[in-house]
């Protein structure tokens, strides 16, 4: 299946990455197409799973989730990896789970209320099978946090 993107797709995707709620007539105006054409293109992009979804980005601070941390986890045996990932996926405080190279086997990005809830979370993670150790790095300040990906002409094939 070819996923070639033309210039119009890239313009639309760039705009949608910045503002997922942009009205279709505005999008049409931006790319000099009719509203039905834009709708058709968007539908195709969604079907091809180039657009995975549209989400609201919530203000974590307003919800008193004051602590963001990256937890490097060392899981001792690859047999435990799947179970570890399943456990991590089930916890709402864990926002991202990545399998990594280097120090540790996985890195988790978490958001939680305070150090008390962080301690509870660490205790939970440590109780999972195969977890040998954790190293928590607390975020002091964040300068960029985005899900935007860089798009260029012919970005996909």
């Amino acid at each position: 299946m070819s996923h070639h993107l033309d210039e119009i797709d890239i313009k639309m995707l760039t705009k949608l990455q910045k503002d997922g709620r942009v009205q279709r007539n505005k999008l049409a105006e931006m790319v000099d197409l009719s509203v039905p054409s834009v709708s058709e293109r968007m539908k195709k992009l969604e079907e091809r799973q180039l657009i995975e979804g549209y989400y609201a980005v919530l203000n974590a601070k307003a919800f008193h989730l004051d602590i963001t941390a990256f937890i490097f986890v060392e899981v001792d045996n690859s047999q435990n990896y799947k179970k570890f990932v399943d456990n991590a996926m089930a916890l709402s405080e864990i926002q991202e789970v990545h399998s990594i190279t280097g120090d540790g086997s996985h890195v988790l990005k978490i958001r939680t209320k305070n150090t008390v809830s962080l301690e509870r979370l660490l205790s939970q993670i440590q109780s999972w099978d195969g977890v040998k150790k954790t190293r928590s790095n607390i975020v002091l300040s964040s300068f960029k946090e985005t899900r935007e990906i860089p798009l260029t002409d012919g970005a996909t094939h």
Binding site: I67, A69, T115, L118, E119, L122, S123, R135, S136, I138
Partner: protein, 486 residues
């Protein structure tokens, strides 16, 4: 022998402890086989406790647990100030949890160390630690400890031998408050670790554990003697060792005298052999209007003298920086300062490095001033004109340095050294204004408008810099901690 009698006389004031315990501040090898060798050695030679930094591999930890040692874990934070504690309290707490959950299954863990050297004299720091302790209390049940130098009210200072000890900081921990003295750690270098130091530590340990760094435990020259000493005291705590002669850490910067004399000789010989220089110096101080007119009209060309004066001032700046650092801060204090302000690392924290840093800093500062004046004042035809105007008032610094160096070597109160150092700094910073004053009086093309390009922005920069440093609490916190580390 006299030292032996003196020691016996003085130690008679202290009662020997009823029991004695030895431990190792262990730099754990990553290889389990090597670690096993170390552990067997410790056990064989009477060490009962281990203090280790950070996370130790599971296989090594399993091994330690089997050998029945008491273990103290250290988070490894060094030089913790109130500002750092405040900014990183959540991170430190999370780190403690990481450590706790990693080590919780090992029965041998007795306590967790939060920091080595911190602002324990600062009440808000102590409160911060208390808050941290309260927050983790429900999870981490083991006592917490910190490592610090003994203060003047401690037992250690009742025995006034600390001048050669670079003395062992204390390890304190308690589940209720962080004040209980729990042991000694030797913190000096291997060379100074003599039988005298060892026996002194035993007598002052009050039965608490004495930790010796593994670098000394495995030091080929000390190893055998140390094992004999430990054995002697484990058998009988009243043992008296044959004491080594008193050794003190040499801290006589003789090269300061050499450099200082270099400056005096350069100045003196040039003053004697170069009539123009002699004339211009005496005119600067005794007939100032003639001096500034000579320079502004470019009538007296003393470029070589200017270069030489700049060079002498550079050496003086290096010397004064070194002297200031050496006098105000102890080697440990300097280490704390370099730890926080890592750009000092470029100068490797050595004495020569600090000297070079002072020289380079001065050279850069003066270059900026010289070029600034040269490019903004139209009267100047040569770069040596502003340089001369800037360096000549700083000749006074040669005399200020004489006072400071003498005060330093005669161990005059730090207050006077500080006052004269401030005078020195004042002359360096304000020579720009003195030079501008000469320019304004004798420059033909210079108007008051030129002050907007020179004096005004310079003054603003000075005020900004002072405000920046004086309002930087983190900077002051570290300076205070560095000052307290003796």
């Amino acid at each position: 022998m006299p030292f032996f009698f003196l020691f016996v006389l003085v130690t008679s004031w202290l009662n020997p402890p009823d029991s004695v315990r030895f431990g190792v501040l262990w730099d754990v090898p990553t290889d389990a086989i090597e670690a096993k060798k170390d552990i067997s050695y410790f056990q064989k030679n009477g060490y009962q406790e281990l203090m280790i930094n950070g996370i130790v591999p599971v296989d090594v930890m399993d091994l330690i647990n089997r050998y029945d040692f008491v273990v103290h874990i250290n988070l490894g934070h060094s030089f913790l100030t109130n500002t750092i504690l405040h900014n990183q309290k959540d991170a430190i707490e999370a780190e403690l949890y990481d450590f706790y959950y990693y080590y919780r299954t090992y029965d041998c863990i007795q306590s967790y160390g939060i920091f080595t050297y911190g602002s324990v004299f600062d009440e808000s720091f102590a409160n911060g630690i208390q808050v941290l302790k309260n927050r983790i209390a429900s999870t981490v049940k083991q006592p917490l400890y910190y490592i610090h130098q003994p203060d003047s009210t401690d037992l250690l200072h009742t025995f006034n031998f600390d001048r050669y000890l670079n003395y062992s900081p204390k390890i304190t921990y308690s589940s209720s408050e962080l004040t209980e003295f729990e042991g000694l750690i030797y913190s000096g270098n291997a060379e100074l670790f003599t039988s005298r130091v060892f026996q002194d530590m035993v007598y002052q340990s009050n039965g608490k554990t004495i930790f010796i760094p593994s670098s000394i435990v495995f030091d080929e020259q000390k190893q055998e003697m140390l094992n004999t000493w430990i054995l002697a005291f484990l058998k009988d705590t009243k043992s008296l060792l044959e004491l080594d002669p008193l050794k003190t850490e040499q801290n006589h910067p003789d090269y300061l005298v050499f450099l200082f004399w270099c400056c005096v000789v350069i100045f003196g010989s040039h003053y004697s052999f170069e009539p123009n220089y002699r004339k211009s110096v005496s005119r600067y101080f005794l007939a100032h209007p003639f001096f500034s007119a000579d320079i502004m009209d470019n009538r007296v060309r003393i470029s070589f003298s200017t270069i030489l004066a700049g060079f002498v001032q550079m050496i003086l700046a290096g010397m004064m920086t070194l002297l200031f650092f050496d006098h105000i801060l102890s080697p440990l204090g300097q280490q704390a300062f370099v730890h926080e302000f890592s750009y000092f690392d470029y100068f490797s924290g050595s004495k020569f490095g600090i000297f070079i840093a002072g020289m380079v800093q001065y050279a850069l500062f003066m270059s900026v001033q010289i070029f600034w004046l040269y490019f903004t004042i139209k009267d100047f035809k040569s770069i040596f004109q502003p340089a001369t105007l800037l360096f000549w008032p700083q000749l006074i610094n040669l005399f200020i340095s004489i006072i400071v160096v003498n005060a330093f070597f005669n161990q005059v109160s730090g207050f006077w050294i500080l006052i004269f150092s401030m005078m020195y700094l004042f002359m360096v910073l304000f020579s720009f204004f003195f030079a501008l004053n000469d320019v304004m009086k004798s420059g033909r093309k210079t108007t008051t408008k030129d002050l907007l390009k020179t004096a005004v922005p310079y003054f603003i920069i000075l005020i900004y810099s002072f405000t920046f440093y004086f309002s930087n609490i983190g900077f002051y916190d570290m300076l205070e901690l560095a000052y307290h580390l003796r």
